[in-house]
Amino acid sequence: MALFIAGRTAQGALVLLAVSVVVFLLSFLSGDPAALMLPAEATPAQIAEFRQEMGFDQPVFVQYWDFLVGALTLDFGVSYFHGDDALGMVLERTIPTLQLTLAAMVVALLIAIPLATVAALRRGSVIDRLVGAVAMLGQSLPHFFVGIVLLIVFTVRLGWLPAIGSPTARGLVLPALTLGLYATAETMRLLRSNLLEVLHEDYVRTARAKGVSRAGVMVRHAMRNAVIPVITVLSLQVGTLLGGAVITETVFSYPGMGLLAVQSIANRDFLVIQAFVLIVAAIVVFLNVVLDIVYGLVDPRIRFEVRQS
């Protein structure tokens, strides 16, 4: 088990290291990182000075080493636009984004679990097809447009909720709904197919034969075994949700790290964008490693498979 945990952690660390290389190389794709980080109206003399100050005149490997050491010691440099520590700026906004993501997950599960259960129990029925249609519609809706429709209805027309999102109960409703609906369709589809698979297992038939009611089988036997894949689905959706949060936060001016990143683009504040990408990747990788380890604890087969390969 210790070997499994160590192996999985090392694997995650390697992925993050590779992400850092990609993020670092991004700034070179444009040809001149200095031009990317300075305002458009900077003079050639200012650019030359900035280049020297940032070490852009050094060989690439030296630069990457500095970047990596900086990232490991949590020093991404100082935002040229704000004069603040880039990492600190992003970290400050991480909590509101995680709150939004968590609330959105709750929304997605509250909608997906009952609908998927009914659809799986009454497979092929009108309800099942209706749920399928809703899922199809959900996957076709660009969620920034959903956010705007919600704004038109609940803020402009009805005046019930504030237009500006915030990590408070009232301010979180519309952003969480927007982001949650984004993840609902996929969650529903996966949950339904997993439930269908479980419902055909022998132990479900045995339970039914012993006289357990349909609902009883669902709650006591099928659901329990379908929950593990749901957690997997959600862990996969963390990345989707964090990506979607960028748009949601922009629609509602929600003070998360996605909005900060979008504002940094306008300000040509590339250091903040680099820090943002790395932190998002770190969250995704960390959660995936933790969940993998949890599965290894719950289900020895997974540990075994890893050892085999």
Binding site: A18, L141, P142, L151, I152, V280, A281
Partner: protein, 283 residues
């Protein structure tokens, strides 16, 4: 001959038929847009600012879907926007297929170190959410139609690489692949002539569904100001423009939004029907 029966199969499905009609409409708008549009999509007119669609009070049949903050005809702009969606959707997915299928075939066929390198690369791409990576790359490459295509193509190849690799791993063990190798075919030929035709169905289905995802992604990037720039007209940037006047003229954002929803829904329904027809195994 089999192609025709499959086309009929897709069109017999109500969703497939609806999807085919939507796709036909988008293509017509993309190709013949300027001839179809009632107005010049960028012609401004101060007298006709924020006119509502024709069914609302104050709307007129002169501007069926209303006008925006600069008095531009929304119907003409929506028609014009179909061109950007078509170009970005098709070109970005072609690029993804080209890169993803090639890498997937190589990884699945050769396995070993090459497979490990390609799959670890895929892990890196998957660790960063699609939109976040697209954003960062778009910042570096700058906005515009073709850099948007490049961004979405470079970020989305992983989907195809993983599907093709998984299928190649099992197909390469089948007898006809062995026969091809025993007959002395070089690996490139075996991959092209034996394995590629067998993964094509899944690739076509996933590519269709991916087109709608890329249309949404382009709209999202443009909404953030990182995608299409004027004078090009895209639905995402139209929605962004309409955001400022939601309380007084909600239709400026809602009209391009509806176009986007109908387009992606149509393509997804078509892709679903295509999947039932071509590849009933994957769901």
């Amino acid at each position: 001959m089999r192609t025709w029966s499959r086309v009929r199969g897709v069109l017999r499905d109500p969703g497939g038929l609806f999807g085919a009609l939507v796709i036909a409409l988008i293509l017509i708008a993309a190709i013949a847009g300027p001839a179809l549009a009632p107005y010049d999509p960028s012609a401004q007119s101060l007298e006709t600012r924020h006119l509502p669609p024709f069914w609302m009070d104050g709307g007129s049949t002169a501007h069926l879907l209303g006008t925006d903050q600069l008095g531009r005809d929304l119907a003409s702009r929506v028609i014009q926007g179909a061109r950007v969606s078509t170009i970005v959707g098709v070109a970005a997915v072609l690029m993804q297929v080209l890169v993803g299928v090639t890498l997937g075939l190589l990884a699945g066929y050769w396995r070993g170190a090459l497979d490990a390198v390609i799959m670890r690369l895929a892990d890196v791409w998957l660790a960063v959410p699609f939109l976040v990576l697209a954003m960062a790359l778009a910042v570096v490459l700058g906005p515009g139609l073709w850099s948007t295509v490049l961004v979405l193509g470079a970020v989305g190849w992983v989907t195809f690489a993983r599907i093709v690799r998984a299928q190649t791993l099992s197909i390469r063990e089948r007898d006809f692949v062995l026969a091809s190798r025993v007959a002395g075919a070089r690996p490139i030929r075996t991959m092209r002539a034996e394995i590629l035709p067998n993964v094509a169905a899944s690739v076509i289905v996933v590519a269709t569904l991916q087109v709608s995802q890329m249309i949404i992604a382009e709209a999202a990037l443009s909404f953030l100001g990182l995608g299409i720039q004027p004078p090009d007209v895209g639905w995402g940037s139209m929605i962004a423009e309409g955001r400022d006047s939601l309380s007084s003229a909600w239709w400026v954002a809602a009209v391009p939004g509806a176009a986007l929803v109908i387009a992606t829904l149509g393509i997804n329904l078509f892709g679903d029907a295509l999947r039932d027809e071509l590849d009933p195994r994957i769901r």
